[in-house]
């Protein structure tokens, strides 16, 4: 809402308060003033001039040589390029020495050999936005009414010595979509009175019912419809003051009748529509829902298809307006209009919102109906419009108002106690302070022993309950005066849940291990949705995606982590180690919320470690990734329950992928990206993993229990075993540990050999076995006996032989 400071001053006394100060006060008490703009933009030296002579420029087709009276001793010669300049006009002249917006200084000049002593200005040159300049002056200079005084300040006559406050209104404050509404707000802030405009309608002796009748067939959409006939109007420009006010509010002037309806819309917040009575084509107005297939050509000359969800004003046969949104071209007020039917109606929000949505038409009128108008002021606005049409369009108002109404004003009464106000706010307001605020708001109330009973005016449709009054009291009392306290409550410790605490430990571990945390988008493209997913379900698709790339919810974190790796590689960051903890979304059926499962995923590519001048360099590989995960399982106390099983998964290297199994259940995987996928993402050798985080964090881990530190020396024996190359080291290791029980405490692999010194199809695995008895020192014989047993076992199970 754009509010002219000077116009506002007609409704509430602004003496002693500048526009800037007013803006601050309004912002502080609840409505944000986004900016204050001075319309004169530093202009100086622009006066009203009278074009005495206007003849073609001797040396230029498009220029005119004008002699202009500026109210000084001598008229001056000015060269003007505007196509509409003519003898006898009153125009705005920037004199030599004048300053126009943008600090543009006017100097004496010679144009094609002719002297020019100033500039005849268009409204745009005076800083008015093109979109509000009246159409007839859009491509040329502005012409004042003929009675404009020569030599007077043109800026003043154009109403530009003014400032405009731009209010950012929240949806609850639709009452401030009108000058009167803003006036009430400002009056409440300043503690001053509101002066309402007066409307005295002089009716003729005819009766409106002889001209028109109104029937509303959809009263739930249109509870109140009223109208008046004004005859013998003369279409012409509206008074300059009205035009300048409309322009200051961002509305382009058209003609007196249309301008008056717009003026009333701004003043009262009540949209009006003026029909050309003679073009209505009937003597009745019927308001109804449109019929499917019906059409209307609106004022903007667009044919619009209507449905039963739209409300139309008809002449009993066909639509003449899309109710509350835009009039029809067939009944438009034109230059030859002589009788006008003014419509003042209350349309309810849903039906208007539907039309706005379906036709992409948002107008000053529809915005107000969408947000809700005050029906108690509808007829008042109609009266004022009729009076203005009589005054400024030479019209004669026909007696009586035509009306169809089911609307009844329901009084809104709110009761609130002083104790409740102070209890909710934590303030110590007195009865008198609250009473003063209600008085300034012009809310009628009674007070009895600290209980306020308030009759809420209909203009404040946002106020219905006690909290609404508390809010009014708080904002007008001033939040600066609110004390700062802390809740008085039983002291309960806060904290993280065990799951949340463990998740943080997991984050810190991974970061300590060298991975950076990534956060990627949850929305992805259909082809990526299920890729790499541990579990898949029917992809969940948005009803109205903004792009196909972000149209479905992800089921794995890996695709976007790969995109991040690829993004980095494209920017010469070759070594990437990222992890992400985030949800994947698995449908449980179309009309229920999906399962959201937290995943932990990672991507490693490039060098994992480099310390080059000492000759160390290690590329990320399967065992780097596995090592990171092993550490994680240790941290969570799960390593003994975790196993890696060779696995084949889509998009992963068939020989370098393992499923991760916890207590026999697959809870994740780790592997190398399939070379084809590496190429697709423009990546080199890349490793990924993804785990079901909840499975890990919710797995009960053993509590820490101290084990005595060894008191006796342990014995270490190494064995190198030759086995078939398809025997997995992990399986062999398990077998050794099992056969060596209870004396073998640790088995660790320290060498893998395949090559010339072994037969084809064989490999050698070397393990280090640590023997230990907590009760005593072991003898060589005891160790040897167990060692033999281990050897016999692996020979029997795997055909393993000692490497000679």
């Amino acid at each position: 809402m754009l509010v002219s400071y000077r116009w506002l001053g007609e409704y509430v006394d602004l003496t002693g308060i500048t526009a800037k100060e007013l803006a601050e006060l309004i912002t502080k008490s609840g409505i944000e003033v986004e900016r204050v703009e001075a319309l004169d933009r530093g202009m100086k030296g622009v006066v009203i001039g009278h074009v005495l002579e206007c003849e073609p420029h001797p040396n230029a087709d498009k220029l005119r040589k004008c002699l202009v009276d500026l109210g000084e001793d001598e008229p001056v010669q000015i060269i003007c390029g505007a196509p509409n300049v003519a003898k006898g006009q009153k125009v705005a002249v920037a004199k030599v020495g004048a300053v126009l917006p943008g600090n543009f200084k006017i100097k004496r000049a010679k144009l094609r050999g002719e002297e020019s002593n100033g500039m005849i200005c268009s409204l745009q040159e005076l800083g008015v936005e093109t979109k509000v300049v009246p159409k007839e002056y859009a491509d040329g200079i502005f012409v004042f009414p003929s009675d404009a005084p020569v030599g007077a300040d043109a800026i003043e006559w154009l109403g530009l010595h003014d400032e405009v406050l731009e209010l950012a209104l929240t949806p609850n404050r639709a009452d401030c979509l009108s000058m009167i509404g803003v006036a009430y707000e400002v009056a409440a802030i300043l503690g001053r009175d509101v002066k309402l405009p007066e409307a005295e309608v002089k009716e003729n002796s005819e009766h409106v019912y002889d001209y028109i009748s109104v029937r509303v067939e959809a009263p739930e959409d249109n509870p109140l419809y009223a109208g008046r006939i004004v005859k013998n109007v003369q279409i012409g420009p509206s008074p300059l003051w009205m035009q300048t006010r409309l322009m200051s509010a961002g509305i382009r002037p058209h003609n007196n009748v249309v301008d008056i309806t717009n003026y009333i819309l701004l003043e009262y917040g009540q949209p009006l529509h003026a029909f050309d009575y003679d073009r209505l084509g009937s003597k009745e107005i019927v308001v109804r829902r449109a019929k499917a297939g019906e059409t209307i050509v609106t004022l903007d000359d667009v044919e619009r298809k209507l449905t039963e969800e739209h409300l139309v004003i008809t002449n009993g046969r066909e639509p003449v307006a899309l109710a509350g949104v835009m009039g029809g071209a067939n009944s438009e007020v034109r230059d030859d209009t002589t009788t006008v039917f003014i419509e003042a109606a209350y349309f309810t929000s849903p039906v208007i919102r539907q039309a706005v949505k379906d036709h992409g038409l948002r107008s000053e009128a529809s915005t107000r109906f969408e947000k809700g108008i005050d029906p108690a002021r509808t007829k008042e606005a109609l009266e004022r419009a009729a009076a203005l049409m009589a005054e400024y369009a030479g019209g004669e108002v026909v007696g009586g108002i035509v009306e169809a109404s089911v609307w009844r004003q329901e009084p809104v009464v709110v009761t609130v106690t002083l104790e409740r106000i102070n209890g909710v706010l934590g303030t110590a307001m007195t009865k008198e302070e609250v009473a003063a605020i209600l008085t300034n708001l012009q809310f009628p109330f009674t007070e009895d022993n600290g209980t306020f009973t308030i009759r809420v005016p209909s203009r404040r449709r946002d106020i219905a309950i006690e909290e609404d009054i508390i809010e009014e009291a708080a904002r007008l009392y001033g939040y600066d005066r609110l004390p700062a306290t802390l809740p008085v409550a039983e002291a309960k410790p806060g904290g993280l849940t065990p799951y949340q605490a463990k998740r943080r430990r997991v984050r810190r571990y991974l970061e300590g291990a060298g991975l950076f945390q990534a956060i990627t988008y949850s929305l992805t493209s259909p082809d990526k949705a299920t890729r790499f997913a541990l579990e898949t379900a029917e992809p969940i698709r948005l009803a109205l995606p903004m792009s196909e790339e972000r149209s479905v919810l992800r089921q794995s974190l890996i695709p976007h982590l790969l995109e991040a790796a690829s993004y980095n590689r494209a920017r010469q960051v070759e070594n990437v180690a990222l992890y992400e903890i985030g949800s994947v979304y698995l449908s449980k059926g179309e009309h229920v919320q999906p399962a959201e499962k937290e995943r932990l995923a990672g991507v490693l590519t490039g060098l994992w470690h480099a310390h080059l001048w000492q000759g160390e360099k290690k590329a990320a590989d399967f065992y780097v990734a596995k090592g990171v995960l092993d550490g994680l399982f240790d941290l969570l106390g799960l390593s003994k329950r975790i196993a890696y099983r060779p696995a084949k998964r889509d998009d992963l290297h068939p020989g370098r992928t393992a499923d991760i199994v916890l207590d026999g259940r697959v809870i994740g995987f780790v592997g190398q990206l399939h070379p084809a996928v590496q190429k697709e993402y423009d990546l080199k050798e890349t490793y990924v993993f993804e785990l079901a985080l909840a499975e890990l964090l919710n797995a009960e881990s053993e509590a820490i229990r101290y084990e005595p530190i060894p008191r006796f020396p342990s014995v270490v024996r190494d064995i190198a075993l030759v086995v078939d190359e398809n025997i997995e080291a992990g399986v062999l290791e398990e077998a050794i540990a099992e056969a060596g029980k209870p004396l073998v405490k640790d088995v660790s692999l320290f060498d893998v050999y395949k090559g010339d010194r072994l037969p084809d199809g064989k490999k050698s695995l070397a393990f280090s076995l640590r023997y230990y008895d907590p009760e005593r020192t072991l003898t060589d014989e005891e160790v040897a006996a167990v060692h033999e047993r281990v050897l016999a076992a692996v020979e029997k199970q795997f055909g393993a032989v000692l490497r000679g």
């Binding site: 004390p483 700062a484 980095n568």
Partner: protein, 344 residues
């Protein structure tokens, strides 16, 4: 013989002084103190002396031997010390060469901010509540006093999946969910961090996915002044002790009264600068007293219970705190960006 002994002492000390290394020193030792050395010889030749002379010469010979011995030891210690120093000097390294790097990653800046805020409120007795990102229309809107057709729904253009299911547009559904769990009995004291989604085109200041932190306190006798005190405490811990806050009236459907909360600028101390656009204040929160409809819908008696709620955007806070200029950085995962957030 006396002269001979004095001469020997002089010669020996001179040679000791000249010895350059341990071997040379040992040669001197053997030459003078060895079994065939000159001093032994002198002692052996004592038989030729008158008996009364013998003890004197004997004593003198011992004295000389002693002196040589001491000089040898001193010199030996000195040479050994020099040897060690030489050896250490040879072992010197260039301490300015790079150390073996310890591989370290770090949290995402949003996680940094979120965890800092979580900890701050945990310190004030809050617990952390988390909930679904794919929400029902009921919890995302209706339970928050935003019935279907409410004009404020326009303020949040949402990603719907079906008519009743959508990606949550704020973390506020957790208010309703948590209160329902409490079955009408306070106190409720939670903060809810999480991802939220809006139908916005991604640019420097908009992201279709972003994060929010919601806070909610419901109990008997919770006052708006408690909200002010809590948020002032929060602002001071997050932005520095000298910070102040101010409330500006605003509108949210789920709170009443509603306010926007500004923190005095931490960059210019309220004098006005680029960060605060010259106002001295930075808007960082929306807050208010929980609307009675929201309390009632979640099963709380709004006559006995009151509450406050607040919400903030970790992206905005991180952008302010670290001077980040483009919200898209948070979701591109450029390592040149991410690794700037390592320091404690």
């Amino acid at each position: 013989m006396k002269e001979r002994l004095y001469e020997l002492k002089r010669q020996a000390l001179e040679q000791i002084g000249q010895a350059r290394d341990l071997k040379a020193l040992n040669d001197v030792r053997v030459a003078y103190l060895g079994k065939k050395g000159p001093i032994t010889e002198v002692l052996r030749g004592m038989g030729a002396l008158p008996p009364e002379e013998r003890p004197k010469i004997g004593a003198l010979a011992n004295e000389v031997r002693e002196a040589i011995q001491q000089a040898l030891e001193a010199k030996q210690a000195k040479l050994e010390q020099e040897e060690v120093e030489r050896k250490l000097a040879a072992e010197a390294i260039d301490v300015t060469l790079p150390g073996r790097p310890v591989k370290l990653g770090n949290p995402h800046p949003l996680t940094r901010v979120i965890e800092e805020i979580e900890d701050l409120f945990i310190g004030m007795g809050y617990t952390v509540a988390e909930g679904p990102e794919v929400e029902t229309d009921y919890y995302n809107f209706e339970a928050l006093n935003l019935p279907k057709g409410h004009p404020a729904r326009d303020m949040q253009d949402s990603f719907y999946i079906t008519e009743e299911i959508l990606l949550r547009t704020h973390t506020s559904p957790m208010q309703a969910r948590t209160m329902e769990k409490h079955r009408g009995r306070g106190p409720v004291k939670i903060i809810c961090p999480g991802k939220v989604y809006r139908r916005d085109t991604d640019d420097a200041t908009h992201s279709h996915q972003f994060t929010q932190i919601e806070g909610l306190v419901v109990d008997r006798n919770i006052r708006m002044s408690d909200l002010k005190g809590t948020l002032r405490e929060f602002a001071r811990k997050l932005f520095g002790e000298g910070r102040d806050i101010r409330f500006r009236p605003s509108f949210f459907p789920f709170t009443e009264p509603s306010v926007e909360v500004d923190v005095s600028c931490f960059r210019c101390e309220g004098q006005g600068c680029g960060v605060c656009k010259g106002t001295g204040w930075i808007e960082i929160l929306g807050a208010g007293m929980v609307h009675p409809n929201v309390l009632e819908m979640a099963g709380f008696d709004s006559k006995t219970y009151t509450g406050f709620a607040f919400g903030m955007g970790p992206e905005r806070i991180a952008m302010l705190k670290y001077g980040i200029d483009d919200i898209r950085h948070f979701y591109q995962n450029d390592l040149r960006f991410l690794r700037q957030f390592l320091r404690v």
